[in-house]
């Protein structure tokens, strides 16, 4: 090819080759957006009323009341922290075998499908739905919350750990298999050693999530600080609610800081 004959124009090939399809999809998307926006009904009177209520709520934050319902708040947090720690510990422990089973490079097909199925169920059911179900089964209180969070932790940890296990360096697995190591030894040396930093990082992250979730599921009766918060809101005691929320924020920030520090030291 001579310099004169070389093309001087080049465009990246489009993702959708057909011109009709490309423009059809763009116009269709735009039309849907317009119609969807037009279907929204906004009641401006209600919005302004809500804004005023919101302002009162924000104002309460400036003078949170830790005192008048002190014992309720303390008991609520004790329950929530207990729920969080126990459910994270049990959930992480149970998630490890599920994660190994759900990793395509380690498990036979039927175990893989079984574990993936369990993970899918656990992740489809939102914590609140599970909590309502378990509260109905086991009654009000933190035990239902503990079970809910354990169930959610298994799904969350097993899914993310399984994906991590599927991405381990296959050479290390092969090398240890070649030494005549048994299956549990393979898991210890070739798999655990590679995924350990992620296992620790995710467990701490899940601890954090479980604490926040414990506040939410308390609202449907699963005990903990959520119950205290719900009661305060029902009674329009925004100052107490503000106190609860402030404590939640502080604890979440502490957990965040601690987990960041720990992750930095385990690599």
């Amino acid at each position: 090819m001579t310099a004169a004959a070389a093309p001087r124009h080049w465009r990246r090939p489009p993702f959708i080759t057909s011109l009709a399809w490309r423009w059809g999809l763009i116009l269709g998307g735009a039309l849907y957006l317009v119609l969807a926006l037009a279907s929204l009904e906004v009641n401006w009177a209600r919005v302004s009323e809500g804004l005023a209520r919101g302002l009162r709520f924000v104002a309460a934050f400036l003078q949170p009341d830790f005192g008048s319902r002190r014992s309720d708040i303390v008991i609520g947090f004790q329950e929530s922290l207990t729920m969080t720690v126990t459910s994270t510990a049990l959930g992480v422990a149970l998630s490890i075998p599920v994660a190994v089973g759900a990793a395509r490079n380690l498990a036979p097909a039927w175990i893989y499908l079984l574990c993936r199925g369990f993970i899918a169920v656990s992740r489809t059911l939102n914590e609140i739905i599970v909590a309502i179900f378990l509260v109905a089964m086991f009654g009000f209180g933190p035990f239902a919350g503990f079970l809910t969070l354990t169930f959610a932790t298994i799904g969350f940890m097993a899914k993310l750990m399984a994906e991590d296990i599927e991405e381990i360096v296959p050479g290390q697995l092969e090398a240890l298999r070649a030494t005549g190591a048994s299956y549990p030894q393979l898991l210890d040396f070739a798999v655990l050693s590679q995924v350990l930093p992620r296992l620790i990082g995710l467990s701490l992250y899940r601890l954090d999530i479980n604490f926040r979730e414990s506040a939410v599921i308390g609202i449907v009766g699963a005990g903990g600080i959520g119950a205290t918060l719900n009661t305060a809101m029902d009674r329009y005691e925004f100052d107490t609610a503000a106190a609860v929320i402030l404590v939640i924020i502080v604890i979440v920030m502490l957990a965040e800081y601690a987990s960041g520090w720990l992750r930095k030291h385990v690599q």
Binding site: A175, A181, D188
Partner: protein, 275 residues
């Protein structure tokens, strides 16, 4: 000691990687396996320790057919076969000592290995081997803190920790610089001689192969097309293994390295990779 009889390997994709490979390796014999990329060299050595299962044929190791084994029996057989990898395949996040001791996993129970309580003899052997491969004092370093040459030395020591009869060596030098490559090849050959080990060495570099390995097997498209002494590699044989190419530069280097033997001078000479 090792005898392969009419080994076939067909991958699920339908590719026939090995076609009727037969090979005999005597105790203590070291042979080089050369051939173009995709000729089945890697598949062949992985069939021997059953990381890959052959579709047909027999793998006789001291009278035992490894092709028929599974489960516990296969694990026990694998202990006799050490393997050394191109990318070292060390467990990167573990210490050098743990990597060496992982060569003893086949001899150690799960809880002992989980708690890293290996037998005293194993630990003593690990220290001796570490010293022998030139890494004394590095036992507590993490494997990912070592250089390429050092990692391959750990890989060699791990394979020897198994007290194997046979070494399978997969492209030991392909990730190393020319000088380190020669040091590693020399080390592997010395250790095989000291311990009377048989070895099959997959290698891309024809010049390096003929310099260090007395017997060469050439593989092309899954079949053995040459099996003979390294000195028998000439233009005609290289063409049979790799196809048409101007081989004069390589054959000239092979002759000059013959002349230099037994003290090859690595400095200032480029390795000719026959790819």
């Amino acid at each position: 000691m090792l005898e392969l009889r009419a080994l076939d390997k067909r991958y699920p994709t339908g590719d026939l990687a090995l076609k009727g490979v037969s090979l005999q390796v005597a105790a203590g014999q070291v042979l080089g396996l050369i051939g173009p990329s995709g000729a089945g060299k890697s598949t062949l050595i992985r069939c021997i320790n059953r990381l890959v299962s052959p579709s047909a044929g027999q793998i006789m190791l001291d009278g035992q057919d490894l092709g028929r084994l599974s489960g516990q029996g296969l694990r026990l057989a694998r202990r006799q076969i050490g393997m050394i990898f191109q990318e070292y395949a060390l467990v990167e996040r573990l210490t050098v000592m743990e990597n060496l001791l992982s060569g003893r996993l086949g001899y150690t129970g799960f809880w002992a290995s989980w708690l890293r309580r290996f037998a005293d003899d194993d630990i003593a052997q690990a220290y001796l081997l570490l010293d022998r491969v030139g890494l004394a004092g590095l036992e507590n370093k993490r494997a990912d803190a070592l250089s390429g040459g050092q990692r391959q030395r750990v890989g060699i020591a791990r394979a020897l920790m198994q007290s194997p009869k046979l070494l399978l060596v997969d492209e030991p030098t392909a990730s190393l610089d020319p000088k380190t490559s020669r040091q590693i090849m020399r080390l592997i050959l010395e250790l095989c001689e000291e311990r009377g080990l048989a070895a099959i060495v997959n290698i891309h570099d024809v010049v390096l192969a003929t310099e260090f390995l007395p017997r060469i097997v050439g593989l092309r498209a899954g079949s053995v097309v040459y099996d003979g002494p390294a000195t028998g590699l000439d233009r005609e044989v290289l063409t049979r293994i790799y196809g048409d190419e101007d081989w004069s530069a390589i054959t000239r280097q092979m002759q000059s390295s013959d002349a230099e033997a037994p003290h090859p001078q690595p400095a200032g000479r480029l390795e000719a990779a026959a790819a």
